[in-house]
Symmetry: D2
Subunit: 369 residues, 4 copies
């Protein structure tokens, strides 16, 4: 079950970095959702390697093939199987890693867990696993655009790079669009910050080093009531979703860690009358759109911390698989900074969580609203 996510809108991913293919099966997608392969490909293209000098140069078109679940331009309600064949496999490129553990990678922990390891490009721990998430996320995006109001008030999810190293961006969550984000290869919609980030990433790459940062994501139009109390709180499920991404080390919603230094009087979001009696609004949004685990109708705003890429070409101390000290200078292609490519991943996880909770709420509303 480790490779499955979601309760009603449920995906299962499979595939290794240098195996034949990676992919996903989405079970529980409602029938009669209009969907084209191009809509899925669009998000995969935002994730794929080789888009710019800022990211890994592995050559993959990441062309998706839909094996099932789609008929006559719409979903059938049966499992959507989507597969991407690995094209630019270079398993031999990893031979020098076979007998040692890369620092802060999953090499040692996989060996400790399984006692049998596909060392080629990280195997299952590779970021290529996230292809399935993005493909599934694209389906969730379409679902959320059509519903909950038949498309009249679509849910929109937009992510962006809000920080690289100590360079922070100034972005307005209520209005930023995917188009704004896609202007620059950094996926930072603040041009000044984007320029500084570009320089910093290129410098790191030249130095054989790597950088981390933060992706911020907003979901606008989420209806009040989505989410669950207790364990499956909307923010709890988002936290899990985000921390399941490679290199993620932190999650916060609304005021997050900064909110810990405020007082209750400062932090509470006052209600005031909204469009109708059933939809009061808040004049601030320190809650980040979620109260008691349930959406309150305000924008959901989260931030995800990514550590600097573990794979660097500088020399590092490590040990061999038989426990001897050794030195490593990683070869092969890698991202000097995962942030730009992390944006579609973070969006996908947000979309998957929202789609799942929307279906769950639908079931709970069986006696009407």
């Amino acid at each position: 079950m480790t490779s499955s996510f979601g309760n009603l809108f449920r995906l299962t991913t499979f595939g290794e970095s240098h195996g034949r293919a990676v992919g996903v099966v989405v079970d529980g997608c409602p029938p009669r959702l209009p969907l084209t392969v191009d809509e899925v490909q669009h998000d995969l293209d935002r994730r794929r390697p080789g888009q710019s000098r800022l990211v890994t140069q592995r050559k993959e078109s990441d062309t998706v093939e839909v094996l099932s679940g789609l008929y006559d331009g719409a979903t059938t309600g049966t499992p959507l199987a989507m597969v991407v064949t690995n094209a630019d496999q270079r398993p031999g490129a990893y031979d020098h890693l076979k007998d040692l553990y890369r620092p802060s990678h999953a090499d040692f922990t996989y060996a400790a867990k399984y006692g049998h390891r596909d060392h080629r490009g990280g195997g299952r721990a590779s970021a290529r696993e996230t292809i399935g998430r993005v493909a599934a996320g694209a389906v969730a995006r379409k679902l959320l655009t059509v519903g909950p109001d038949g498309g009249q008030a679509p849910v929109s999810v937009v992510g962006w790079v809000s920080q690289v190293r100590d360079i922070t961006a100034n972005v307005e969550p209520e209005t930023v669009t995917e188009a704004d984000v896609e202007v620059d290869p950094t996926r930072c919609p603040d041009p000044q910050a984007a320029a500084a980030m570009t320089t910093a990433i290129e410098d790191a790459r030249k130095a054989g080093d790597s950088l981390g940062g933060i992706v911020t994501v907003v979901a606008r139009g989420v209806p009040a009531g989505l989410g669950e109390p207790v364990f499956d709180k909307l923010d709890a499920d988002l936290a899990k979703a985000m921390l399941s991404l490679p290199a993620a080390k932190g999650f916060e919603i609304g005021s997050g860690f900064a909110g810990t230094t405020m007082t209750g009087l400062e932090h509470n979001d006052p209600f005031e009358p909204g469009p109708d009696a059933h939809h009061p609004i808040t004049t601030t949004n320190y809650s980040g759109g979620v109260q008691g685990g349930i959406a309150n109708g305000a924008s959901i705003v989260c931030r995800v911390a990514f550590k600097p890429t573990a794979t660097i070409s500088s020399e590092q101390k490590t040990v061999t698989t038989s426990g001897e000290p050794t030195m490593l200078a990683a070869k092969g292609r890698h991202d000097p900074c995962v942030l730009p490519r992390a944006v579609p991943l973070v969006e996908s996880m947000m979309l998957l969580v929202l789609a799942d909770h929307w279906l769950r709420q639908q079931a709970l509303d069986v006696l009407g609203r």
Copy 2:
């Protein structure tokens, strides 16, 4: 399923703040675990209200009754049902809240979700729901103490208040003990910080205000290999566990958000030879004990951000349930700062996640190690 947590070591909580009782059913606890009711009560006593002036004065002994699953001093392998009767119910004390929404509480979101709300003391959204988690956590603690090595290398989990407002504590995660933490009612084992926190909390209470802060938790002795790749990463499950706690707004592991400003060369944890060939150790622990979602044998260190308590006695703007603006000054008993009582909750969630992953690993090891 929203009130259930865990895959193999699985709990289901129930109960409202001012209903008859709150409790938990733990399904999947292995048989033949020696366990006494006192061991469960010990952790509940750390959670219960009225322990000091720093917390709510609701009078509850929180005496647990074990209805099933325990026989002859040991677990039977069948469900452990544990119940705490609500003694100090004062549902009438909440009449003034029936027709309005408390800011930054779950009042409005529950109404939006369910259309039918038990307003008495927050109903299901009350912190009394966490009694079941702590009772289950005590069972998990005992399980992890006996195993994985028959008690030779027990897993120990210790949490403490590391920050209140902007007052931060200086604590050594590798050596701090529960006894150190229990010395002061703040549950901050740094005496200077504890004194400052006490003053700050008392001042907030007198001012009709409230404070937030951070709980840090460490798990020592977790064997390398625990955790899962992809979605059920150990840190992902911890993130969900912690964000499911009332008032939690952020989670980080290891370097967390601070790690985003480091470079890969600084952040990678170098391996060096350990006690034997299969157990290399790292000379730093920016990973926080988890790499690729799987424990690497180092201490697991997490931090959880809690917002200031939403219930305050100062006057606030809000709306009635029919959408009219109004003012609220909350009466009733509440915690001016949830941090001291949050410590056993955070420990419980860590324990529950570890117990579950330990059982999962056991299943995967079916062909031997």
Copy 3:
């Protein structure tokens, strides 16, 4: 998870025969369902011991207490915890069974599984575990009566004893009612068969022996479309539900085993025009209301085979827990034939499966019908 059942309408039972209490937590019940404790008690009264000479004489009022989830006469959407205290515990009555295994009971298999056994009255393997199922089933019954059409076309579920030993009843599934079934303590609505069954059961009791038989159950008014293809077929979930009952050894739907001797031409249910274009009807019902795992709108008719009660007072060969041959003549109170009390159990399992699938269908219909 072994003590939980259902995906969206989900119950978790707990409790042993001679422990303090037995009960159930129902999570996922929709909010705003009008429900009284009496409605739950009604079904429990049909299950409880001591109703007639035909069943065990254990004295239990089986009075249910609802600990949570009910407020102001309706469900809140949060977990319903329902508990029955064990009154007539006589653990000492089982001392003679402590060191041996009763034939065809769960004594040996529990010992093999857990290595630690509560031998008192079968512990968790006792039929008292089913109290939680019946309480949850009563909630499901109410839910299915109100919906799916707001009560205009309620789903009705009726079970009856259709066979005891070789005595078979003649009953019309399309019209039989609970009132018909409750006329006679055998719960067989065919008076002639009921009389013969009564004699047979009393003779078996006097002879220190026991009898088995068949319960038939019908669900009328189930809307076409309920159920899932592949693994969670409606009939597959019903099969699991029924085989999870104590003493059940077989399940069939529609033509069942008898249908294996028919040809396709005889067995296929011809369609003919129904009330409207979207609701064709079938002129026969060999399918038993389910085709391809999904309800077709016809009545769902299932049969469940129960073996003769394992506990008998006649002398039998067995072994001690240390493997020595011995003889056993069981003392204590038991049912000479479980069939009459099995009727509410079979109905409950049918109701629980239908409620769960109704909620699942609701989620799938998120884009409208």
Copy 4:
């Protein structure tokens, strides 16, 4: 989740009859299991069409491709994705079925459920879906052969056709082998019965009609203790597994329906001393190897009833999708009797249930035996 099965050894199938491919993802298979593609292909070859005149003549080699999870001749512990490309697609052959509902097929119920139907060859309701089950079952078979005792006491699962129409076979469950079963295309190891079945099936085919029957399956060597009490009883999970197969209408274990006419004294399986004090044996096996939901160490024997194939070439009354009466004489290729090809399916479901419960037991044994 409808297309997933199992808790720890978990498969998810996908694919339609006339889509591009069908397949399965197996998540939770333990690492380091030696496995070849040929071992999977072996069981697929027993399932595939065109093996003899008794089955459908659709031309499919059903060659499996393993996309992930296998490295260096052994499983890695990560998801095994296995895919079979559909070769002999003839979607056009189903044009005459587009606007009508075939009697006793899933055509109408899919339309009622999804409102959007892939009519080509039954779409997802086709028996081609079972390819994924058989591939996963082959992995489970290998796992159960290696363990639980490292191969010293392998679990063996053998199924056979025990009845076609009213022709019954005489087969000894304790000794029958796969080799015995594979001698004859009917998969009935009783030569006389096999000959009569062959004639009956050929006659039915010529008459444009079809036949049903029974598959019996035995699992030998299952260790006592496997299975769970309450809902996930071993026989309950087997019942669900078997009823999830296309055309299955009934399930029984041990004495099953026949046992309902026995008395307790006749039906109870007396214990007598076994190989050691912890393994008593029973002198009869009316329990079918399961008592209280848990294996007792005796052979597990189940019978599954299959209705006659719904697709027949004789003329039948039915309705169009717009509710008008019409006549249908099905064209296309189909099995006049599913029984011979159902044998590997029944075995696979037994293997999948046993593998899952074995892993579950392993987790429960975390404190040792």
